[in-house]
């Protein structure tokens, strides 16, 4: 009897215990939202961290190198006795590689999108689309290796004077990498054009080609342009392909068979050389990265603006 009593609680005790449990539980329940908010704010802190580090270290750089010299200088000699830090050679390399990439990715990506959205039978599209997406999943280092060891020797058959490191071959391969991005975003835009519009054009006697060019593409233009802008942004920020296959020449030139350095490749080269913290060349990393960051940010915001502002609603 006594042992039994020990285990048995009075009802009021049980209620008390239950209340106690509830209390802890309720407290936990109340804490969850703020805990989750804390986790969610990590992504905001990442942005703050990126902007803060880039600005803080760039300010230190611009204390040594006048900001005007940086943005208008055509000479980049970070390692010489009298170092000069002009960003234009890097901007030039970035722009040229981006143009080459877009000359490849723009037309081909766009035509792939047209095929997939307008011409391909369902079963063909179901096979081709995932296959095309594989291109986007291949690590960029693999593309860099391919550009350096295969595409450049291949190009040498066409341009015998091409250098072992040149901007042309990574530009082309960057374009190949961007094809699936443009193809799939443009295809999404074209697929969302309602069928009634196509049927209207076909009923008036248009061929599929005429329907595509005169009805579907104009209606999907905002999405298509946005996909191109995102492709440009991707090309500007691409690093490993150019770092491997385009070498480190910092000359301000327009010869696409020669070596050129992009902003991203400069960061890889200088950071990989273990520049001592506090030196001007170390800070130059951040100034170049800040320029890169601003360029890609503008492109991304532009893409969003275009697709939102000029969207045709049906």
């Amino acid at each position: 009897m006594a042992a039994n009593n020990k285990n048995r609680m009075s009802v009021s005790e049980m209620i008390e215990q239950q209340k106690q449990k509830r209390k802890i539980f309720n407290q936990l329940e109340r804490m969850i939202p703020s805990l989750l908010l804390m986790i969610a704010s990590i992504s905001v802190l990442t942005t703050v961290g990126i902007i803060y580090t880039l600005f803080a270290e760039s300010v230190a750089f611009f204390r040594n190198v006048p900001i005007l010299d940086f943005f208008t200088g055509t000479v980049l000699k970070p390692l010489s006795q009298n170092p000069e830090f002009g960003v234009l050679p890097l901007l030039n390399g970035t722009i040229i590689s981006t143009v080459i990439a877009m000359l490849v990715a723009g037309p081909i990506g766009m035509m792939s999108a047209i095929y997939l959205s307008e011409y391909a039978p369902d079963n063909v599209r179901r096979v081709l689309k995932p296959l095309l997406e594989i291109l986007a999943g291949v690590p960029t280092i693999v593309y860099g290796f391919f550009a350096f060891t295969f595409v450049t020797p291949l190009l040498r058959m066409v341009f015998p004077s091409i250098e072992a490191t040149n901007i042309l071959s990574p530009g082309i391969i960057m374009g190949v990498m961007i094809i699936p991005m443009i193809a799939s975003l443009s295809e999404d835009a074209m697929s969302s054009v309602p069928n009634s519009m196509r049927e209207g054009a076909l009923a008036l006697g248009s061929t599929k080609l005429e329907t595509t060019f005169k009805v579907v593409i104009p209606a999907a233009l905002s999405g298509i342009v946005a996909s191109f802008v995102l492709g440009i942004s991707r090309a500007i920020g691409e690093t490993m392909i150019v770092a491997i296959a385009s070498g480190s020449s910092k000359n301000f030139s327009f010869d696409i068979t020669g070596s050129m350095q992009t902003m991203t490749a400069y960061i890889v080269e200088v950071a990989g050389g273990e520049a001592a913290a506090g030196t001007t060349i170390y800070y130059s990393l951040y100034a170049v990265a800040l320029t890169l960051f601003v360029f890609t940010l503008i492109m991304n915001l532009l893409a969003k603006y275009i697709s939102r502002k000029f969207r045709e609603e049906y």
């Binding site: 060891t149 770092a243 991203t264 913290a277 890169l292």
Partner: protein, 296 residues
């Protein structure tokens, strides 16, 4: 008959030229679609023929060596594995936590749309910029040095937007009547989230997380900035050891191929290992999606 008033020959001529044009362009569109696939095929064939004969047990198990015939990539494999050990829990906790907050807890308003915009902008930041953030924050300010923890955290931040967006979509796909039934039984919000919504969304979340992981382990640019040594270093045994990783090994062997021609073949062999790893991860993701995805 109305056709009497038409010049059938002229109409036929015009029609057929338009139809021919259509057919011609169709061929061009198809060829463009194949172009990307042909490049992919050439790339894979080239790399496999170049590297496959270098893959053997010694190559997989040996230490790094300057002698091409004795060099192995065990260190790089372990480095990549340790990176995954850091990236998986960090991205899962932060990614899923953020997604739950945005989808289920946050009130629709300025704060929520600010965080969402911020995430979509982060997704567009070049990976090399994350490398500089990692260098400044983890390697120098927090003084981790160029160890696995620093590399793993940098890669985690890089792929976080992918995980968050995937988890958001998975949570959104859980039908409302499931959680309503749970509330109806007297469950609290957190109980509903933890016991009903999360399990239902788990396959989608895992698929996204694995895809993000495969992006992380193929990523090279941020690691080059952190200053990963190309030298002979002992195998990493924990998250505070210096390391090399598969993509870094490929990078060093590729740029040194002008010195020792055989390094290019070793790089190709390492690429095969990396691609096989990525292929396995993606297969698992597809498997999970097909097997566990429930349609409501």
């Amino acid at each position: 008959m109305a056709t009497r008033y038409m010049d059938a020959e002229l109409v036929g001529k015009r029609m057929s030229s338009r139809v021919r044009k259509n057919t011609g362009w169709k061929g061009l569109f198809f060829a463009s679609t194949l172009f990307g696939l042909v490049v992919l095929a050439v790339l894979l064939v080239r790399i496999f023929t170049q590297g496959i004969e270098y893959i053997n047990i010694d190559f997989l198990m040996n230490h790094l060596s300057t002698d091409a015939s004795r060099a192995g990539i065990m260190g790089a494999i372990l480095g990549t594995a340790w990176l995954m050990v850091v990236v998986i829990p960090v991205t899962m906790v932060i990614g899923v936590g953020t997604a739950i907050y945005l989808e289920l807890y946050a009130k629709k308003g300025k704060l929520q749309s600010f965080i969402a915009t911020n995430i979509s902008n982060l997704a567009g930041v070049p990976s090399i910029v994350y490398g500089l953030l990692g260098l400044t924050l983890f390697v120098r300010t927090l003084e981790f040095g160029n160890v696995i923890l620093a590399g793993g955290l940098t890669l985690s931040l890089l792929v976080l937007p992918i995980v968050i967006v995937a988890a958001q979509e998975a949570l959104r796909a859980v039908p409302g009547n499931l959680s309503e039934a749970s509330y109806g039984m007297g469950a609290t919000k957190w109980q509903t989230v933890r016991r009903i919504i999360l399990p239902a969304a788990l396959p989608g979340i895992l698929t996204g997380a694995i895809l993000a992981l495969s992006r992380a382990i193929g990523e090279t640019a941020p690691l080059t900035v952190l200053g990963i040594p190309a030298l002979l270093i002992p195998f990493p045994e924990g998250i505070f050891d210096t390391f090399t990783a598969l993509p870094m090994q490929i990078y060093y062997w590729t740029i040194d191929a002008s010195l020792v021609a055989e390094y290019a073949n070793l790089a190709a062999a390492t690429i095969i290992v990396l691609l096989v790893l990525l292929f396995l991860l993606n297969s698992i993701a597809i498997l999970i999606r097909n097997k566990f995805q429930q349609r409501y």
